[in-house]
Symmetry: C2
Subunit: 364 residues, 2 copies
């Protein structure tokens, strides 16, 4: 089988490439996807209660880049959603990230913006040299805030306490010295009105894009002749793990249907110190869907085969660089996206990168 | 690319074959589908109001065959739905098919079951010889019932009045001499709880089934080596229309979102005599979905490229037989399903047929 572009992986990276390349009607494009669906981890679907859920955890689209927003707006209308997160601390539901509201609610104070600056300064514990993520947090926020919001959450998230984690994992703690309790402050925020999966379908709704699902590209690679491959899978897998497997943190999801209109007061509630899950997402609050029932998702970070979070530490970055060196030398393969670049990227970033790669391709 | 089975078309026929063949782990199966989704005309999806709709018109699963019901129950739970249809006649909404209720409501009578038999007999108009569908209807039901329920509906449906239609189109008019107003009386009736698309996904959730979407099989046929092809597409297309194109009736769908809980009193209301559409389907009433909004679908039968209804008349059957003769002589291709057999089949029938073909294959 002959194609111009073989795209491995139907996540947002691969789909953006496919969409852009397909604008040239002479390009024949084949996407190969291991899962039974397109959309990567942004995939959403409806459950038996007819509630739209994000199968791989909550995805909130946010960007400051108008070009990205306009580009994706070709494929979807948006539900103008502003994400807010509460953190369950000391028996209270307190806004995250840490804002003036958080501090005043936590300590039952009535600080002004200016007083909060002084307060945070007074909390900071000078630790030098900084050897761990715990040191970063103590330097940035002091022990109380660190212990209440970050210590246990990070331990759940990575399976290791911050004191044993590279400073890169908690690289800084963001404070907001005002009452803006939104999780993101990007200019553009929203959820595709009919869901991410529908948006993704629209991206590849062109006759010169074929999609092969349920297929590991290595199973069919030999039978396909291509001019260029765009590889968005795990970079170590491409090279048969020859330098060893890269480490990822994975997540186990538990869904619960509840026979009530509303389960919690925010789309996402973090549980840093209680239970074994890190957070609970109530999807109706993200999508704006109306229903007499609701579905929630608990997230249990774990080790596992499904790669979610690349380890942002020196050790694994160094291993990645061995692979990257080989990848850079490839003439007919572009490595792009979270798994191929072993880096946690937001959705807008992968779309942006694919657009840049595409522009470069067009110049070459 | 080498596979054991190349399946053309991811409708219920193709998916049943794929599922059964995949039980043998040594079988490599590739499904090629022209559309961007599996499920054929049974495909359902959610719209921007989060209402589940059947994209190609209402699909009610019903069968008397326990084997089929049990087989599909591996892939879905069921919403135990009993289909009911009303027909808008003389300004009233009257149950279809024609039951004792229909007659009593239409004529404002209070006939017993026994009196209805006499009444229908008295209505019948003897026409001989029977040359058209109109003749069939007059013989079966008399002029009034024919004109109110069937004449205009059939004209909309086929674009030709029954007086010009082969007797095969209205081959009989079913009467029910009791108060059972259900549309179907099959022992098993239901709707897949999470939708047909999800059920279809489950059918092919096996590692030895690959699916290629957005792909006309002729585009890739040459690049694939297979032991056997299962062809479920239009039989004339397989043979490049060499004897001419077979005629199909198509349907144009119009969707409307309404900001109310309920739009009409039944899942389907037929409009034999009014408007240009044949019927309105309100999907929530089929799926049992709860929502403050509702979505309806109007159906406008039309000529068109999307093949829905094979013409059940002698002329087209004869053309089909020319193709069938060639098809029967093929050694490595099985022709199965509505399009390949040029015949209107219900869902349970195509599943049953695929199961029988499969058993035959296994014996060969």
């Amino acid at each position: 089988m002959k194609v111009n572009y073989l795209i491995v992986g139907a996540g947002l990276t691969g789909l953006t490439f496919a969409n852009l390349l397909a604008q040239n009607e002479n390009n024949k494009i084949l996407i190969i996807e291991k899962r039974h669906h397109i959309g990567g981890n942004a995939y959403d679907s409806y459950n038996a209660n007819h509630i739209l859920i994000h199968n791989y955890g909550p995805h909130i689209f946010h960007t400051n880049n108008q070009k990205i927003w306009d580009y994706l707006s070709q494929f979807t209308e948006w539900y103008d959603y502003q994400h807010r997160v509460l953190s369950f601390v000391d028996g209270q539901f307190i806004p995250m990230p840490i804002t003036l509201e958080t501090i005043n609610q936590l300590y039952n104070t009535n600080l002004s913006q200016f007083e909060m600056v002084d307060f945070i300064e007074s909390q900071k514990e000078r630790v030098a040299p900084i050897k761990s993520s715990e040191d970063v947090a103590l330097n940035n926020a002091g022990r109380d805030i660190y212990e209440k919001f970050f210590m246990n959450y990070t331990t759940k998230q990575w399976g290791v306490p911050p004191s044993e984690l590279d400073p890169a994992v908690i690289s800084r703690i963001p404070f907001r010295y005002n009452r803006d309790t939104r999780y993101f402050t990007d200019r553009y925020q929203g959820i595709p009105k009919a869901g991410y999966s529908k948006m993704c379908e629209q991206m590849i709704d062109r006759p010169n894009i074929k999609v092969m699902l349920n297929t590991d590209y290595k199973e069919v690679n030999d039978a396909i002749v291509y001019d260029k491959m765009i590889y968005t899978g795990p970079i170590d897998y491409y090279y048969d793990n020859q330098f060893g497997k890269l480490k990822y943190r994975s997540v186990r999801f538990e869904m619960e249907d509840h026979d009530c209109e509303s389960f919690q007061n925010a789309a996402v509630v973090n549980y840093p110190n209680d239970y074994d899950y890190t957070r609970i997402t109530e999807y109706k609050k993200i999508t704006g869907q109306q229903s007499r029932k609701t579905t929630i998702m608990k997230e249990f970070p774990c080790d596992g085969d499904d790669p979610f979070y690349p380890f942002p530490t020196k050790e694994w970055q160094e291993l990645y660089l061995l692979y990257k060196e080989k990848a850079d030398a490839e003439k007919n393969v572009i490595f792009a996206g979270r798994l191929a670049e072993y880096r946690y990227y937001n959705m807008d970033v992968v779309v942006d990168q694919a657009m840049r790669f595409f522009e470069k391709l067009s110049v070459d």
